[in-house]
């Protein structure tokens, strides 16, 4: 970062006017250069967020403005069993899916970092689930999980392992695990490829040195790979958690939150109440209730980034 205070140039004879001093003031100019970005942030981030929070304190319906009702929406949600089911579902969905995505993603990344035949092709293929539009993959999974025409049920029946179709999306717990699996399938490539990029920044000389010192593969991972990968892990897991927590499309295309609300996430419930049911205020309250959880997830990653300083010395940025 360049030091922003520059000595202003002093004119030899005339005292500079306030305006000419301002004209040459880099801070003043810099502020103006920042304005477009600031405008974008306010218009597309701060304003919608603020509006969402404000709506959650009103009884706005689609098609007509509401009145300020304070915390009434939140009080109502506090006693709403469907809302608490959705909170539980969202946490379960996020924690289980993110943990498995991290483990599987890291494993894949380590594997891909090795010299494999057809390395480039395999790396490209890994990305496919991430490239396919979410709704398409959701519909594909919806067919895979179909009660009557599921290919999984069909295969297992042909092999003779089961006698009746598996009720993937009709039973509450089956539906939860099925949707979590679909989310994992979709999310692993993102984690894997990002971590792979991180792995390639680790200097091979460190591994050489460690090998010469007699480090086992586990020790090399634990004391070289892992610490150097921490910042990337923090970033990728923050994104992964945020994406999972706010997931909407997969659930909406597959179950609409059913059966008996067993897969309703906060995002889908918010949509159902706000857009389909027309209660914008209540839907906004559900969406706003997601913010503390998201902030918590961001804090963890921030904490993770900080740790790198402790490990490598406080003045190493």
């Amino acid at each position: 970062m360049v030091d922003a205070t520059f000595p202003t140039q002093r004119a030899p004879i005339n005292e500079p006017t306030a305006w000419s001093r301002l004209k040459t003031n880099r801070q003043w100019l810099g502020w103006w250069f920042m304005v477009p970005a600031l405008g974008f942030l306010i218009l597309f981030l701060a304003y919608p967020l603020g509006l969402g929070v404000w709506l959650s304190f009103t009884d706005t319906k689609i098609g007509r403005a509401g009145e300020f009702i304070g915390l009434e929406n939140y009080e109502w949600l506090g006693g709403d069993s469907i809302f608490w089911t959705s909170v539980f579902n969202t946490l379960l969905y996020t924690i289980v899916a993110s943990a498995i995505k991290f483990a599987a993603g890291l494993y894949l990344a380590l594997l891909l970092n090795k010299s494999l035949p057809f390395k480039a092709m395999i790396r490209a293929a890994i990305l496919i689930p991430f490239i396919v539009p979410t709704v398409l993959s959701a519909i594909a999974f919806w067919w895979i999980y179909d009660t009557q025409f599921s290919i999984l049920s069909w295969t297992l029946k042909k092999i003779g392992l089961i006698s009746t179709n598996i009720d993937f999306l009709g039973d509450p717990w089956n539906a939860r695990w099925s949707t979590i699996f679909a989310n994992i399938w979709r999310g692993v490539p993102f984690v894997a490829i990002t971590l792979l990029a991180g792995l390639q920044t680790v200097s091979p000389s460190l591994y050489e040195a460690a090998t010469l010192d007699g480090a086992t593969p586990w020790q090399r991972f634990r004391y070289i790979t892992y610490p150097l990968l921490t910042p990337i892990i923090a970033v990728v897991m923050t994104f992964s958690v945020l994406f999972t927590f706010t997931d909407f499309q997969l659930i909406w295309a597959m179950t609409r939150g059913g059966p008996v609300n067993a897969t309703h996430l906060m995002a889908t419930l918010s949509y159902q109440r706000a857009i389909m049911g027309g209660s914008l205020g209540e839907g906004a309250a559900i969406a706003t209730a997601m913010i503390p959880f998201l902030l918590f997830a961001i804090m963890i990653s921030w904490f993770g980034l900080q740790r790198r300083k402790w490990q490598q010395g406080a003045d190493n940025d």
């Binding site: 689609i62 098609g63 009660t147 009557q148 993937f168 009709g170 008996v260 609300n261 049911g277």
Partner: protein, 437 residues
Amino acid sequence: MTEFTRRTMVKGGTAFAAAAALTGPALLDWAKAWAQAAPWKAEKGAKINLMRWRRFVPAEDEAFLKMIAAFKAATGVEVIVTNESFEDIQPKASVVANTGQGLDMVWGLYSLPHLFPAKCMDMTDVANYLGKKYGGWTASAEMYGKSGNKWIGIPVATTGGLMNYRISSMEKAGFKEFPKDTAAFLELCKALKKNNTPAGFALGHASGDANTWLHWALWAHGGNLVDKNDKVVINSPETVKALEYVKALYETFIPGTASWNDSSNNKIFVAGDLHLTSNGISIYVAAQKDNKPVADDMNHAYMPVGPVGKPTELHLAFPILTFNFTKAPQACKALSAFMLEAENFNPWIAAAQGYLSHFLNDYDKNPVWTADPKRTPYRDVSKRTLTPGGQGSLGEKAAAAIADFVVFDMFANYATGREDAKGAIAVAERQAKRIYR
């Protein structure tokens, strides 16, 4: 669409049916004459943005677009039609109503005009014109179309959700004809399960199928979400009876109904694995094309009557509305009337093959209802249907209760054993009280 060619129409013999067969230039001439005589003169250079629900029967959509083309040729009004799925119509229309731009007309579902009656143009003159000309509106048409004394939408058609059953399976289960009351109907479902030819009704968040048959079950037993004054009365012994009835039915269903959406029962029925369900006529239409033996062996029936002793069916109405901020009010009114004129409407509902049922009494005579007797039950759905509001008002609150699956969740929670009757009703009551406050 081959069954209703001009020839079969003319064979019907009546001038009414013959008029329905106008095609090509004849249709255009008629459309031009109509535009000359119609009380609504389209504004010069008018343009109409119209959003409609996405069709289920392709021939219906073709007939609709043909009609739109004739309207354009006759009046010079350009009509831009966009299609949206059932679920997306309501939110999009609401946003347009809110922002006052983007669309002029919406052909939507259920009580759509009642969600924002203040934004709907007064269509009373159009409704009176059509009612007078075509034998009057059904009672449900007035409920769907009118807000107070004002028509805020024109009810175009209904799609019926009736019983679809396999004849052979029913007979094997010991029934010569389809049960007319709920008790016998439960026996039929039990027998079907025993014969391994099961019934199945959607219990997933299927906004069409699930809501129609569950409201039927609730009302058939005398349960109601709200009374005439919109007071929440769901917590009643009648509701408990309805819950127990649905649970007993659910135990006879094919596995997986809790995950069904609106297309699930269609697929499974056509494939031959499902022997009784509630649906529009689309299963029959698809089966004729994809699985003829199933089509030949299936038939339709009214929903059985419950302890209340009268039909309690809920069908899906399709009203069309015009926003009052449109720049072409006369053109929109002209189009609304034009669509429902016999020359257009007859071939259109013929093309829909029973998927669309009329609200105007004169169209009972359309041969589509009698040419294939299996379609006949769908002729009467507009006369038999109640509204999603039940006994209460039709509007924002009723729509919100439907959209938020209040009644649906209550049944699903109890039938799948997630809650006891008391708990399921308590959740629904709490939600309903907030919506209807």
